[in-house]
């Protein structure tokens, strides 16, 4: 019980202190989880991050589940995960209540109209950064372009594109590997 409480509080503290999630959280995880609590080694942490990249969901959440389950089993995984999201849930709920009460004010509308411009620029920057690591060759470039235009033209769920792209990735690699072996 004491261990579970410790897991919850430690992850809640980290969730409440990191802005931006994901990679922003790595240095704090290293300090708290590896150095202070010794719940995982640096190598394990890097493994969790790598797997967090190739599993659905949010990396910070995935890492919390990993470390919790490693130390206290399934319950530990759930407790650590609830801990990491707890501060966000409380804080955002308060902000959401605040915004919905003030959304009608002219000054708030002016501010958010300016903020939306910045949101666009921030996402564009993130897309370019993501593109540099994910678009590496002709196949990945094709997939990027097809999904970009496909999702704008056709009114279907992004889920379809994710499933198709995963299948295309496997097929393309099978084909590439066979071609390489034939040579």
């Amino acid at each position: 019980m004491k261990e579970l409480l410790d897991l919850f509080l430690t992850f809640a503290r980290m969730g409440g202190l990191t802005f931006g999630g994901g990679y922003a959280m790595l240095p704090i995880l290293q300090k708290e989880v590896v150095e202070n609590k010794k719940w995982a080694t640096n190598e394990e942490l890097m493994d969790y991050y790598a797997i967090g990249q190739c599993t659905p969901g949010i990396i910070a959440v995935n890492t919390a589940t990993f470390i919790g389950s490693k130390n206290c089993g399934v319950i530990g995984g759930i407790v650590a995960t609830l801990g990491v999201v707890f501060p966000s849930v409380v804080m955002i709920t308060i902000i959401a209540a605040f915004i919905s009460n003030f959304a009608e004010l002219k000054i708030v509308q002016d501010a958010f109209t300016g903020i939306r411009v910045c949101v666009f620029v921030l996402i564009l920057k993130a897309v370019i950064k993501l593109g540099k690591t994910s678009v590496k060759d002709a196949v990945t470039l094709c997939l990027f372009v097809l999904v970009l235009f496909g999702s704008m033209i056709f009114d279907v769920s992004p889920v379809i594109f994710v499933l198709l792209a995963g299948a295309c990735g496997i097929l393309a690699q099978v084909f590439l590997q066979k071609g390489g072996a034939a040579k």
């Binding site: 931006g20 910070a60 804080m91 509308q109 109209t113 411009v117 920057k125 993501l130 198709l164 393309a172």
Partner: protein, 205 residues
Amino acid sequence: MIYLRLFYEFAKVGLFAVGGGLATVPFLQDMAKHTGWFTTHQLADMIAVSECTPGPIGVNMATYTGYTVGGPVGSAVATLGLIFPSIVVILIVARILKAFRDNKYVEWAFYGLRPASTGLIAAACLGVAKIALFDTGEQAFLANALANIRWNAVILALILWFFMNPGMFGKKIGGNKVLKKISGLHPIFFLAAAAIVGIVFRFAG
């Protein structure tokens, strides 16, 4: 049963949004279109709020959406929905850690998934551009695009882009120490600056 629906919709996001953070945005845009729970304008505001508060962006988005749809309970339900698939998948993967990491099919699938996820986010980015830089409804967008462009927003976007990416404007500008420092600032500073510009220049019209 609105809570069940919230849980289900966000569980779907949690299961298919690969690569964390902004990967949830295209799914939320889709949700805005099909559920009517929030508008694309509100979604852009949510992204801004998420950038300014601690915690993973995806979780913040789920909480915010959940709240606007179903109050405090809605925010808890949506967040639980979002993290539910992750918890299940990770608890399974944790048992077969090495086999999963070294599996070539997993690696190959992600070879295709990553550019697709980037493409989805790029399309979402254009969706945000449409509401941020243009003054128009959904209908006949292309025909009226030029007439409805909001030049003050475009100028603000270019200025923000310059300060966030000085490295793209040649070595001399990119090497400038002050500019370099500014470009490394947390997004919260740029969002605050954009808010002030919006208020001073009465962006909402």
